[in-house]
Amino acid sequence: MSAALDALLMHGHAILVLAPFATGAVLTVVRGGRAAMAVSAGVALALAGVATGLLIAGGSDPLGDGAAALIALIGAATFVAAGPVLSREVDARTQAIALGLAHMALGAAFSVVTTPDMATLVLSLLAAALLGSALTALGAARARAAAPAAFTAVLVSLCVGALGLFGASLMLGAAGGGDMAAIAAALAPSQGVDGLVGLVLLAVACAAFAGLAPMHGWAADMAAYTLHGAAGLVMIVVRLAAFVGFIRVWDIAVAEPQSALAEAFSLGGAALGAICVVAGSIQAIGAQDFRRLAAHALTAQFGCALIGLAAGGVDGAIAALFVVATGAMTALALVVGAAAARPQLGATAPMAALDGLSAQRPFIAAAVSVAAFGLTGAPLTAAFLGKWLSVEAALARGWYWAAAAVVAASFAAVFVAGQIIERMYFRERSAQIGPAPAGAAAFAPALLAAVAATLVFGWNGAGPLDVARLAARAMTGAP
């Protein structure tokens, strides 16, 4: 038993990447139905077990293992919730294709966060983004606007992928190999022009794949039009993986903390973070679609994380990782809430779909309310701790403007949360939207996980903070 477990953990990273691809390949050629849904959810749950095991076992890459565990958790919750949603959205054949593509996207995301090779990271990101685009394109059967959203995503993937691949090849040439640790060691003493350009191109590519402002419009479009059953993977997992890729590139850029390159990246990163916070917050307030709102809110959270990361040091990195994790869990609750509240016949989730949700689905409305409070960074939610750490890191660096941006994001989120709660508790659902769809039980695991993460880690964040601390120390080289 112990030997089997050891073997499982030893090959855990390969299993995380290959098992979803194999499952996806099988699912795309079979007919959909309950068996396909069950197999899909079962594999996703097993992967969550493997990823959690790898995290607990404590490997040499806490950032990759932590991100893989988070992605696996979100993936499992999404696949469990996908059953009743997909069966109402598309026919049986398309269901199987959607599940297959979603599994492959999950595998690509695992590959992004666990690979030590730079070129593989870019290719995996490109694969994840293209698979996400294909999932969005499947929504075109219900809303014709899904096709242009998918097309834009394909275009962005190809353009950004070109930049990323060119950057990776420049760094490969400059460092003589693709291993990220070797690249950091080779480039740190003297930044050649090729390596420098490659680094910047890679950072831009990862930022665009992560949907960081001002390159976030395509991510919001995809979130709004993708299939409800796959939205968690398209709008959270792919972006989360890309953000981890961005952190990897960042780690190479700031390998020499006092260098001009590290300073330039720090200031540029903080500015990009502030833009994300401002753009994401304002667009979340004005969003007419609930999933678009969630996508913009995630952009704002990424901005807060970026400010913490740019502030530097172990504390800044801890803040960044904690904010990203809590932001992803909040987004999960909002996306699943959107699927639970969606109109019976609609492919999208307009804000009006939230009207009167508390009367029809009180538990789901309560979970979405907790997520909405989490957006604001209210005390006793996990986001409070993350934002507090970000503000502290920015203030320690003397970046009052960056700290002000994080605080402003929280105030903007109050408007967003108020809007959500007002619609759910003080309005009546219109007849045109129709009653909330059946199958609410399938959403319970995702919502419970998100609510538990928001409240439990808001009360006592020791567990995730320890993981973030380990990852931050590995990144910064601090003892």
Binding site: T120, L126, L130, R144, L158, C159, F166, P350, A352
Partner: protein, 109 residues
Amino acid sequence: MTPPMLLLAQAHLPLTALAIVTGLAVAAASRDLMKRLLGAGAAMLAATAHLAVAARGDGVQLGAIVLALAGMALGLVVLVRIREGFGGVAAVQVRAGIDEDMAQAEREA
């Protein structure tokens, strides 16, 4: 290495950069979605070619080529869907159609 090959080796990097910039410019500026896809595809293929040179003997070359072609194929399939849904592939026409859909959704809500 013969002089022409040497010249080619030296020109490879600037030519790749030029091809990528041109492809991205076409993808950003064209009003026709087909031309946008071709521009993005050209940039991707140029980057793939450079990666193939940099990562000689590495398996990532094959992955890059497959993904570039798969991306372009996906773009073409989606483009066909757009033509069916919007009656054309001009960016302005598609934008007008999306605006119309959004206005209708707002009226219904």
